[in-house]
């Protein structure tokens, strides 16, 4: 069933009237909600032009606070994915190993780090660096955030890689064996390249999760990223909390929405191209992107292949 349009007939005269009535009711509800919010904002002087105009008229808001904040967010996210990707790939291949002494410990590590909230790892890493390293206190939050994100996302990537390799048709391995390739050769020159193509869209959507998680560093560890700019902006531009939050949220949404759209475009394109074995991992899911099963559940069944 697609889109849900089979759930109702093409509207006739009565259905059209009824839909119009529902539309009107819904407009009233939305208008009431909007009016309630705006009235509350006006009541607390959050709607005055002085609170919103700096974002349009004063370039300093952008050059001093918002853009450096956004830069820090993207830096943390970029560093995390650059480190997490190779680590995750190693872990993913480790989980597929034929040797139990590799497969079992790697599997345990992956399942463990997927079950722990990323914030706990960030807090732990922050304290770890504070005690056992000579990192200066202004660079420490970035290291802590990246460490936490790498630990978590490497294990998510491991699952993505594994799902990518397992989603390939058996014939690929058989063919590689038939022309005399060894296990390592099969993995490196046949399975992995196709798996990487298949998982590209999921990787891009995982980037959205990483960007969103960097905000934790701003709220709790004092990383001067985009969300943390809310404090400095409201301190300097007269308590314009709502305006600042709106602009910050819009920036996050712009970044993430373009990443999501890019992932969707990539997925459609790869599905159409079918140059490899034609396998593409889908991007449409929740938080644990690319992970078919909850931690601990048997992992033999895969997402769409």
């Amino acid at each position: 069933m697609s889109g849900g349009s089979v759930l109702y007939d093409a509207p006739g005269a009565r259905a059209k009237r009824r839909n119009l009535l529902y539309t009107a009711l819904f407009v009233v509800v939305l208008a009431l909600a909007a009016w309630w919010v705006l009235a509350a904002m006006a009541d607390k002087q959050q709607l005055t032009a002085a609170k919103w105009s700096p974002f349009v008229t004063d370039p300093a808001v952008w050059s001093t606070y918002l853009l450096p904040g956004l830069g820090e967010t993207l830096l943390a996210a970029g560093l995390s994915i650059v480190v997490a990707l190779p680590v995750g790939m190693l872990l993913g291949l480790g989980r597929l190993s034929d040797h139990a002494w590799v497969r079992v410990p790697v599997g345990t590590v992956v399942e463990l780090f997927r079950a722990i909230p990323v914030l706990l790892m960030m807090v732990f890493a922050a304290q770890l660096y504070a005690e056992f390293s000579s990192l200066s206190s202004d660079i420490r939050p970035l290291y802590a955030v990246v460490t936490g994100l790498v630990l978590y996302n490497a294990s998510v990537m491991a699952e993505i890689v594994r799902a990518g390799v397992l989603s390939l048709p058996r014939g690929q391995t058989d063919a590689a064996k038939a022309i005399g390739m060894r296990k390592g050769q099969t993995t490196l020159s046949v399975l992995l390249p196709q798996a990487v193509t298949a998982m590209l869209p999921v990787l891009v959507s995982q980037l959205v999760v990483i960007v969103k998680d960097t905000a934790l560093g701003g709220a709790i560890l004092g990383l001067p990223e985009l969300l943390a700019q809310n404090r400095t902006i409201t301190a300097n531009y007269g308590a314009n909390t709502i305006a600042a939050f709106t602009v910050i949220a819009v920036l996050y949404i712009l970044v993430n929405f373009s990443l999501t759209s890019f992932a969707g475009w990539l997925e459609r394109r790869l599905r159409r191209a079918r140059r490899s074995a034609g396998v593409v991992l889908g991007t449409e899911q929740g938080e644990d992107i690319g992970v078919a099963n909850p931690p601990g559940a048997p992992t033999d069944e895969l997402r769409d292949a």
Partner: protein
């Protein structure tokens, strides 16, 4: 090494707050997500547009931004307290509000893909019997859709359990907030503190995954 366990930290209390946050938010987001999914597949264009826009916007906003905005914006700037009496209660309710607003979008998307697994013939048969949109959705399609998405919803629940830690950003006294406090005070037991909290979350999430994975396989409609 583990002697911080019997000192004056309320470890179980903190995890109990985490569990409460999870349960209330799970119930709230199930309702809100179902409503959103209903609007998204419904015949009224404005509701469809609203639900689509809401899901796309909220899903792309960091949960941390939502929860901090609930606290700083809704509560401290606009003075909404959601009926909470003291600081603790207000923070707890604001965190649930943020979690429900965010998690509802994932429930909606999971349900929508579940609705897509229900064969066309089911909805057509419902219409042929004269059921309207609401009846065929509630009586025919959603019950089958829910049975198909138990495992994805379990994933959402596990993610939600982990996401409750974000409430530490507005000083709700749940597990992550206590861990931050403990890890700073008991710096010589750094690894032990982390291990205890990590273990706590594994205990919370692992049975959920196993149990709901089993339930999901049992209730799935065999086609």
């Amino acid at each position: 090494m583990f002697d911080f366990l019997n000192s004056d930290y309320d470890l179980l209390g903190a995890f109990w707050v985490t569990v409460q946050l999870t349960l209330y938010s799970a119930a709230g987001s199930l309702v809100w997500g179902t409503l959103l999914a209903g609007m998204r597949v419904g015949p009224v264009p404005l509701m469809r547009g609203f639900a689509t826009a809401y899901v796309n916007i909220v899903r792309n906003t960091p949960l941390t931004v939502l929860i901090v905005a609930c606290s700083l914006g809704l509560n401290q700037t606009l003075g909404m307290a959601l009926g909470g009496k003291d600081f603790k209660e207000i923070g707890f309710r604001l965190a649930i509000l943020g979690l429900v607003a965010y998690t509802g979008t994932f429930v909606c998307e999971a349900l929508r893909s579940g609705i897509n697994t229900v064969p066309l013939g089911q909805a057509e048969a419902a219409r042929a019997l004269g059921l309207g949109f609401f009846q065929s959705l509630v009586l025919i399609v959603l019950p089958q859709a829910f049975r198909a998405v138990v495992a994805p919803l379990a994933n959402v629940l596990i993610a939600l359990t982990k996401n409750t830690t974000v409430a530490a950003a507005i000083s709700v006294a749940e597990a992550a907030a206590l861990m931050k406090e403990m890890i700073e005070n008991e710096s010589d037991a750094l690894f032990a503190v982390f291990a205890v909290f990590a273990f706590g979350f594994v205990v919370l999430t692992l049975p959920v995954g196993l149990l709901l994975g089993w339930v999901g396989r049992r209730v799935a409609v065999k086609r």
